[in-house]
């Protein structure tokens, strides 16, 4: 172990040397809060952005400004999300919400399993996703059959169901909204709405 590996790197000594202007000390670090204060741990740190396997271009999911985001992925997990400096909208900046996006998508509080509450039930139950999808399809068709209207009370041809509705959301992709409206219209459902009304 060399002398420099022992006590000489102690910040207080480095700071003293910097203040005294001794050789080997951080130049121009008279406050002792710059290079003099760097530790070996600090020197060995690497930003997650430099060790990521890939960087994926994205867009902030919060407000409608549309700030560019860069999503850093390592071992198939999102490890960092930062502003995209190339974006003419945001020039790399994110607000507190946008800067918290990694926590949004990697949050352990995210619900990742289907939950089911039966009529008059007092608690949640587990349900298989495939079964849930099948049950929902059955509910849609049963409600549609029960409430189908070819002609309204004034005898006008309306060919629709007012038996079910959809609301939201305005954070869905255009492609998702397109499918919701397309399927809803084909089913005869007109109460297809979203946050834009609110």
């Amino acid at each position: 172990m060399g002398l420099r590996e022992t006590f000489l790197p102690w910040p207080v000594l480095r700071q003293a040397r910097a203040v005294a202007g001794l050789p080997g000390a951080g130049r121009g670090d008279r406050s002792g809060r710059g290079d003099s204060a760097r530790s070996r741990v600090t020197d060995r740190l690497q930003p997650r952005t430099s060790t990521a396997d890939r960087v994926v271009a994205s867009v902030c999911p919060y407000c409608a400004v549309g700030c560019g985001q860069l999503v850093y992925v390592k071992d198939e997990r999102v490890v960092q999300i930062e502003g995209d400096p190339a974006s003419p909208v945001s020039r790399g900046r994110l607000c507190p919400k946008g800067a918290a996006t990694k926590q949004l998508v990697t949050n352990p509080r995210r619900q990742t399993r289907v939950r089911y509450r039966r009529p008059y039930g007092t608690d949640w139950e587990d349900l298989d996703l495939d079964t849930a999808m099948d049950m929902i399809a059955d509910r849609v068709l049963a409600t549609r059959d029960a409430t189908w209207t070819d002609e309204d009370s004034q005898g006008r041809r309306v060919r629709r169901t007012m038996g079910f509705a959809a609301l939201g959301g305005a954070t869905l992709d255009n492609e998702e909204n397109y499918l919701i409206k397309k399927l809803g219209t084909a089913l005869g459902a007109v109460q297809i709405e979203n946050q834009a009304r609110i």
Binding site: A64, A86, R110, D138, T143, N174, V190, I192, A196
Partner: protein, 880 residues
């Protein structure tokens, strides 16, 4: 000018451009009841009483007109200021706050008397009489049209005009019935003194503001107006934006760089969900949902809504191409391209009507796709009680939001109004994929599509909504296979064969975007909506998005750095229509096609090349000369002249006056909010007479103005957002960072109000309306300024609306306080201006909470009728 928006806190990264402009010498003004970081950074912050923006904007219009400060050359050439209105029209000046055409029995306007002289508009009688059923008279017709909420159908275009050559114009602007003179008369009572008495803005501050705006609106300088839901969430919300449109057109600030009226929208793709609507009254690209009376066939539908002139004249091509995208091979000329497959709307079927249908039991199933109405929609109790009356509810979100768990832990369970054992609603919670886990495009507030790429797979059962709706549709189609029922043909004939990939069979979002973009008969991607035809040869899922996949390339995924292109940055993403970044930009040049000034040059006519050119894609036929005048009988866009920049309007003009398309008047007029502590000083008519009210026990209204009992709710209330939270909290209240930054529900009051009501800083307050009582921590701050209006001081209370009972940070929801009185054009609720009481201490628990609110209702004398009269009794206007 930022008004109706707290841009620095709600759109912080967009606000950097405002600050960049300020650093280069721009003046920034913020008009808002509260001093926020936007106001703190402004050259001038103008506090006003919530709900009085039209009075202020009307005052500015009056200031412009009285002082001859309009941009005369722009106004004469590009707006309908010179157009002469029919003799039958009567203004609010004549009828004490009502326009002509008011019908007491229908609680709405017949708009026939609002028309241009010599023409009729789409909502009148005439060509629209060719429906499948016997027609009503013209008045009934126009009334019914507004009652179905079909004003909004004109989202991208004005109403049709029957014959442009019959329009009478007086370009001296002196004719007593020309729009310009009509505006002068209408706004003559919006004096600086009246603005002071209604809004609480001192005369000298108003005059300073007026000078700042008008000095900055010239050939060399433009003024931009930014707004957000501070303007839309009112019973006169559409007229707020209209008032800004009138002012900005008079000042020549539309279609020019640095000008405009900028809607600062609040969700990543809320613009997209309007363009490709999940809205009851629209089909993609602002095509109206058909109505059974006038839309029995495709021909009738097109004849009813299409314009003979302007780009809306191509509506048939847009419609047929959409039907081909939906139903493919099944859609043929012989079967009207499956037009009959479209369900019909017959009234207002918007989200608040759905809640009432749930309460009535006629709506039995409900999908919530990333939406939390138990916190985020007005009258949260009505939302929950509606859900408690459903057969089934599907919630798709990141976490167990309040709209998924109300049956076990909602406020009504606490109060004893609901018990899980008696709630029959079957609830499915399906976890949603995040934007980092799926491909797709968002359309931002500037109409720009940006693609986000999937970075990782979603965890567990989480799936994209693309996956959910595609596979739900696939299962439904499989279950119906072989059905011979006529009602099932639209599902079985639907084009629904998107390619999938991966272990979850995720459908291809790019394939969906290609369908939205449209294809030619040979299957190649279209590049412009001008290629769309009405003979079934083209298919296009949303005509205004045609070109988003031009040349078979995902244009929304373009990311050329801003450092490598010009300041308009046309190669980043893709903006509809046709990648134009600034709409109606023909107006950035003078009638001869020259820039109004070199400083404000944007798009101009290049005589040498014989075409329009500039920094952006010209929003005009590229080779139409400025001196072009259409021959008689020309149609569609060819009917517009070389000086008609507003190409979606039938007359190519910016509409200072709206002869058709609005339910509550052709010119913006100040009315007090549904609930106001003061009477309307401008007219005998207190409220917007055409506003919607619900007349439900769950949605009582408070007395207003000088009505008996209004003193029980003496304070003005407004709701707002915080930087660190997002709408109803589903994307913020579960995050530790954001919850730590804004850990608790609070209300903001002035030191004066704190003294009057006995509130302590950091203590508790209970805020009460006729609907509910909520508690909040008290923030006493001189950011809240009491305003002197009428003959009294009005105190204002501010409440953020993000909180609910679930998540890391919890609190009462502001929407417990709000009501379901709506704007009549677009059915948006009035959550930005109410009245309330505020008292020290926490709210009572359980049944005592209900008792407290009942006591308030009793003291105020509230009945089912309170606040529901469309026309104020003293107003004589209804006799017109």
């Amino acid at each position: 000018m930022v008004q109706g928006s707290n841009m620095a806190e709600c759109h912080p990264v967009g606000f950097q451009w405002v600050m960049a402009a300020k650093a280069r010498g721009a003046t920034l003004i913020h008009v808002d009841p509260r001093l926020t970081r936007t106001g703190a950074l402004a050259d001038l912050h103008v506090p006003l009483r919530a709900g009085t923006d039209i009075a202020l904007l009307g005052g500015l219009i009056n200031y412009v007109l009285c002082n001859g400060l309009e941009f005369r050359e722009y106004v004469v050439a590009y707006t309908n200021a010179a157009t002469i209105i029919g003799e039958q029209f009567r203004d609010t000046e004549d009828l004490d706050g009502l326009f002509s055409g008011w019908q007491d029995d229908k609680a709405g306007y017949a708009t026939d008397s609002w028309q241009y002289e010599g023409t009729s508009v789409a909502s009148s009688a005439g060509k629209r009489e060719r429906g499948t059923r016997a027609r009503h008279d013209g008045q009934g017709r126009s009334h019914e049209r507004q009652a179905t909420g079909r004003g909004h159908e004109h989202g991208s275009h004005g109403a049709a005009l029957s014959d442009l050559s019959n329009i009478r114009r007086d370009e001296t602007l002196r004719h007593p019935r020309c729009v310009f003179q009509l505006l002068k008369r209408h706004y003559s009572r919006y004096t600086p003194e009246m603005v002071a008495r209604v809004c609480g803005i001192p005369v000298d501050v108003f005059l300073q503001l007026a000078r700042m705006v008008t000095d900055n609106s010239t050939r060399d300088r433009t003024t931009a107006w930014a707004y957000a839901v501070g303007w839309t969430q009112h019973t006169v919300g559409v007229q707020y934006i209209r008032a800004a449109s009138v002012l900005q057109l008079l000042l020549g600030n539309i279609g020019r760089p640095g000008g405009g009226i900028l809607a600062l929208r609040g969700h990543a793709s809320i613009q997209g969900s309007t363009d490709i609507p999940t809205l009851y009254d629209l089909l993609p690209g602002y095509l109206p949902m058909p109505h059974p009376d006038a839309h029995g066939s495709l021909d009738e539908y097109v004849a009813d809504d299409s314009a003979d002139t302007g780009y809306w004249g191509n509506m048939r091509a847009y419609t047929v191409s959409l039907l081909k995208a939906y139903w493919g091979e099944a859609a043929t000329a012989d079967n009207d391209y499956c037009f009959d497959y479209l369900p019909r709307i017959t009234g207002d079927h918007s989200t608040y009507q759905t809640v009432k249908a749930q309460l009535d039991g006629s709506c039995k199933g409900y999908f919530l796709n990333g939406e939390n109405p138990a916190v985020g929609s007005a009258n949260a109790k009505a939302q929950r009680l509606g859900m408690a009356n459903l057969d089934w509810l599907v919630v798709r979100d990141f976490a167990l939001i309040e709209s998924a768990t109300w049956w076990r832990d909602g406020p009504e369970v606490e109060s004893g109004e609901l018990r899980p054992e008696t709630v029959g609603t079957e609830v499915f919670f399906l976890p949603a994929a995040a934007h980092t886990e799926k491909d797709g495009s968002f359309t931002n507030t500037q109409r720009m599509l940006q693609w986000h790429h999937a970075a990782v797979d979603p965890p567990g059962d989480a799936r994209s909504d693309l996956w959910f709706w595609f596979h739900l549709g696939r299962r439904i189609r499989a279950k119906l296979a072989g059905s011979t029922a006529e009602r099932d043909r639209p599902i079985l004939d639907l084009t629904w064969d998107y390619p999938t990939s991966g272990e979850h069979a995720e459908p291809s979002a790019e394939a969906v975007l290609r369908e939205i973009n449209g294809r030619a008969a040979d299957g190649t991607c279209l590049s412009s909506y001008q290629q769309l035809t009405d003979d079934g040869a083209t298919a296009c899922g949303c005509w205004i998005y045609c070109g988003a996949y031009a040349d078979g390339v995902n244009q929304a995924a373009r990311r050329k750095p801003h450092t490598e292109q010009n300041w308009v940055a046309p190669e980043w993403g893709w903006a509809w229509p046709a990648n134009r970044r600034l709409l109606y930009n023909r107006a950035s040049a003078d009638p001869e096609g020259r820039p109004w000034s070199e400083r404000k040059a944007y798009v101009w006519w290049d005589e040498g090349k014989g075409r329009w050119t500039g920094h952006d894609v010209p929003d005009f036929q590229p080779t139409k000369r400025p001196d072009h005048r259409p021959p008689p009988g020309a149609r569609r866009e060819d009917a517009l002249s070389g000086i008609d920049p507003f190409i979606m309007q039938a007359d190519g003009k910016g509409w200072l006056y709206v002869p058709a398309g609005l339910s509550d008047g052709p010119v913006p007029t100040h009315y007090e909010p549904q609930e106001s502590p003061v009477p309307n000083l401008l007219y005998g008519q207190q409220h917007n007479p055409a506003r919607q009210t619900s007349r439900r026990t769950v949605d009582p209204y408070q007395p207003s103005g000088d009505e008996p009992g209004s003193g029980v709710f003496p304070y003005a209330l407004t709701t707002y957002r915080l930087t660190e939270h997002h709408t109803a909290g589903g994307m913020s209240r579960w995050l530790p960072y954001l919850s730590e930054l804004q850990p608790e529900m609070f209300c903001e009051v002035s030191p004066e109000l704190a003294r009057e009501a006995g509130l302590e800083h950091l203590g508790w307050a209970t805020v009460v309306t006729a609907r509910e009582a909520i508690e909040a921590r008290v923030l006493v701050t001189d950011r809240m300024v009491p305003v002197r209006v009428h003959d009294r001081i009005v105190h204002q209370v501010g409440v953020p609306y993000h909180w609910g009972g679930n998540g890391l940070t919890t609190g009462d929801s502001a929407n417990e306080l709000t009501h379901l009185s709506l704007d009549p054009n677009v059915h948006i609720q009035e959550t930005k201006a109410l009245s309330c009481d505020v008292r020290p201490g926490r709210r009572p628990r359980g049944a005592d909470r209900i008792a407290l609110v009942e006591e308030y209702r009793r003291r105020a004398g509230i009945t089912a009728e309170t606040g529901t009269a469309p026309r104020t009794a003293a107003s004589p206007g209804g006799t017109a």
